[in-house]
Symmetry: C2
Subunit: 319 residues, 2 copies
């Protein structure tokens, strides 16, 4: 299912990724927030140029490609945020990018990916196997596959958020609460901040990583996972390159409901003046629901804000 | 109409305000934005703790009160953002605060002001004279009036945003585009950044400062000003303490329509992932409508994000 990883990700790679990102992008703000009377912090990665943290891993990966690899172009599979990250990095580096995206991805994500100059290939979710489509395209075109999470560069790149938080806070945070799809961000943060507790948060019914951590082996999501508003976190199974970092390292995984996520989106609107997509509000949802014990050195990742206006309007008026 | 100002605001006061604010609040982020192909900056003061820049002037004013003045308490008149700024500063300093607010202010502003511990006195807009109510309350209680703009401390405090922009940019911006109600922010920015062009932006029909600048004397808004979504910018007339700074110094005033403001709110939602209230989007609206010539050293003030969920949902779906 996954291409074998050429190497394991490591902390040196995270530091290098953070340095490379600092050359081209200002750090996203670490903002104060009060949750249940506790003063802590949110890392507003929804304010990245593509509206999501995925620009981090994409930039680290693509900027490390050789000239020969760059000429071959890149292919990615994504529901929309990794898509925009790869498209953004590819445009900046003059690389051809093809992105395999689900036909029912939010329009804002499809439009933005195309606007960044990438070629978009659509598939039906569920039904078609997106990884199979991507592998076929890679074989046909000889392009380089940039996996959304099963990639040491992508993991290291996402981890750069942890380095920024440490700089902004003046120390490694006591805890980082992060949304979790394939486990790229949680793995990267684990490497970035060895002294921090890492809490991965998945949508209810899509908590394969929580169950894998509990079992000690990789388990996929069940055969008929429920619908979820978190389009960015519908990942069927994590990869060995991620799980090898996560197991025995991160805290037990947490799951949040769509209702908890919508509440978090409304909280971010009212109290933080920030726009969050459902998946980008998952970590905040876990905190607002009292599932994580926070203190003043805790940081909550706000990972994305790419949501359609009509969908967000519905969330705002559904309280 | 206005109490005589005890002194003129000055740049030293702005610098002192900036230093005092830096002690208690991190600078709000200066974020990249692309408008009409030009890369420039937005100053996201909607991310302040009270969701608006007004916390600046309120803190500078209240923290400079003598012990005797603090014991007397403060009174302010505000549609909601100055209200929250004064209530926030008063709570932090242990000062009693009474705020005169219009009955039709956004619920989010009324609720937040009360939640900060201030006593709220409602009046009908139009019909009752809010300044008259405030003066009567001051006479009855001997409290200190903290005017929303006709006050040298308030002007200096708002100007601290210009000092932060200069630090973040590494130089004084070529231009700062700012929303304008009574002229406190524009006057403060004029003092903060003597090398910058300052563009005040008012709602159409409420552009008394633009007309005053053109005439060289203070003119009020017309007798029957039109309805505007910019509840924060419905100021009938500027004060001498503001106009004396603005005249001959700032650029000709600009006016924006509600349609342009709503477009700017949707742009901030989609491209910046930021929530802006109508008044907080006025400067951005002027820029998106091509009314200001921007360059890479230009900064646009995003001044507030206190808007009700139902109102914002309507803006999002009205395109």
């Amino acid at each position: 299912m996954f291409q074998e990883s050429p190497r394991a990700p490591n902390r040196e790679g995270v530091m290098r990724a953070a340095a490379k990102l600092a050359e081209i992008l200002p750090p996203t703000p670490l903002l104060p927030v009060v949750i249940g009377g506790v003063h802590c912090h949110v890392k507003a990665d929804n304010l990245q140029p593509v509206g999501a943290f995925k620009i981090r891993g994409a930039w680290h990966r693509l900027s490390d490609l050789s000239d020969e690899e760059r000429r071959r172009g890149v292919i990615a599979v994504s529901s929309g945020n990794h898509a925009q990250g790869v498209a953004w990095a590819a445009r900046k580096l003059g690389i051809d990018a093809t992105i395999v995206m689900p036909r029912n991805a939010p329009a804002i994500k499809l439009d933005a990916t195309r606007a960044l100059g990438a070629k978009v290939v659509l598939y039906n979710r569920p039904g078609e196997d997106r990884d199979e489509i991507a592998l076929r395209l890679c074989q046909e075109s000889d392009a380089v596959l940039v996996h959304a999470y099963a990639d040491p560069w992508v993991i290291e790149g996402q981890g750069s958020a942890g380095i920024e938080i440490t700089t902004q806070l003046g120390r490694q945070p006591s805890a980082i609460v992060a949304c979790c799809g394939g486990g790229g961000l949680s793995a990267g943060l684990s490497l970035a901040c060895p002294e921090s507790k890492i809490f991965p948060v998945e949508p209810e019914g899509w908590d394969d990583i929580a169950r894998s951590l509990a079992a000690g082996v990789i388990l996929p999501v069940g055969p008929n996972p429920p619908a979820t508003d978190c389009d960015a976190l519908q990942t069927p199974v994590t990869a060995p390159v991620n799980f090898n970092v996560l197991k025995g390292r991160v805290e037990p995984g947490l799951a949040v409901t769509d209702t908890e996520v919508r509440h978090a989106q409304r909280f971010a609107f009212g109290a933080l003046k920030l726009v969050l997509e459902p998946g980008g509000a998952a970590a905040l949802a876990a905190c607002l629901s009292g599932k994580v014990k926070l203190d003043e050195d805790s940081a909550i990742m706000l990972t994305g804000g790419n949501t359609d206006a009509a969908d967000f309007a519905r969330v705002l008026t559904s309280a």
